[in-house]
Symmetry: C2
DNA sequence: GTAAGTACGTACCTCGAAGTAAGTAGGGGA
DNA sequence: TCCCCTACTTACTTCGAGGTACGTACTTAC
């Protein structure tokens, strides 16, 4: 008997430890190389495409567009187009987006603060 | 004049938005596909190699060993070998490991709970 | 006239992340 | 006797994430 009741399907919360659970895909999207930084950047306020690209150091236009599309599809980011010439597109977080990003900002801040400890551990190990 | 003072080098906390900052590497390690699940699994207590492999659904032996080595190198995981035959190796979190994992468990729990919302958004988008 | 910016889409290519499979060395069970 | 279990390592292979580069349609600036 397992101590865990595995309800597969749409009922109940997901189980990220189950390789078939759709939460795995969401986890992969959210923790992907650029998504973390994009989400945290957007938590500081709405950004235009180019502003976002400047904020997230090292991201290519292709990957930024791709990351934004994925996050928009998952409902974390909303896209707003102003009908000017040229069209000005601005990105921001949805309510769902603010939810995940809360955890991510905490994570990033922790890493930035504990970086000396990690570097020390790495040079030891 | 930029509004941001960029102190590169070892002084002060890192800046994950700078592509040259070493915190990027740590972020990539911690948010990698398997590291998230391994860390959260270990937060529930020490695990042997095979137990860990069973806990984290879908991970191969190679990737588990590789992930554990990276996390051990960064000082998040400690490895303990019991001098029995065959040697029993057990893995657990260090103090540093408990620090990051706090944020990760929050993230995973949030995703598992909000999965219906995300799925709904995805089918809409 | 030319260059640069805005907001992407698309094509091409590379390199490494990750999967598969097998080897290792000792011990215990069928 | 032979296979399985533990805890990995190594070799081979694949596939896709991600980089580079260019196109687009329009505007502003020099």
């Amino acid at each position: 008997m397992s101590t865990q009741v595995g309800l597969s399907g749409s009922a109940g919360p997901g189980d990220a430890f189950d390789s078939d659970c759709p939460s795995r895909a969401v986890l992969d999207h959210v923790t992907s190389k650029w998504a973390v930084l994009v989400l945290v950047a957007l938590s500081r306020g709405d950004h235009r495409f180019s502003a976002l690209r400047r904020a997230v150091g090292g991201v290519s236009e292709k990957m930024l567009a791709q990351t934004l599309r994925t996050l928009e599809c998952d409902g974390f980011v909303h896209r707003e187009v102003a009908p000017t010439t040229p069209p000005q597109v601005s990105y921001g977080l949805t309510a769902l987006g603010h939810g995940v990003t809360g955890h991510l900002t905490g994570l990033i801040r922790w890493i930035e603060e504990q970086l000396p400890e990690v570097s020390a551990a790495r040079s030891r190990g």
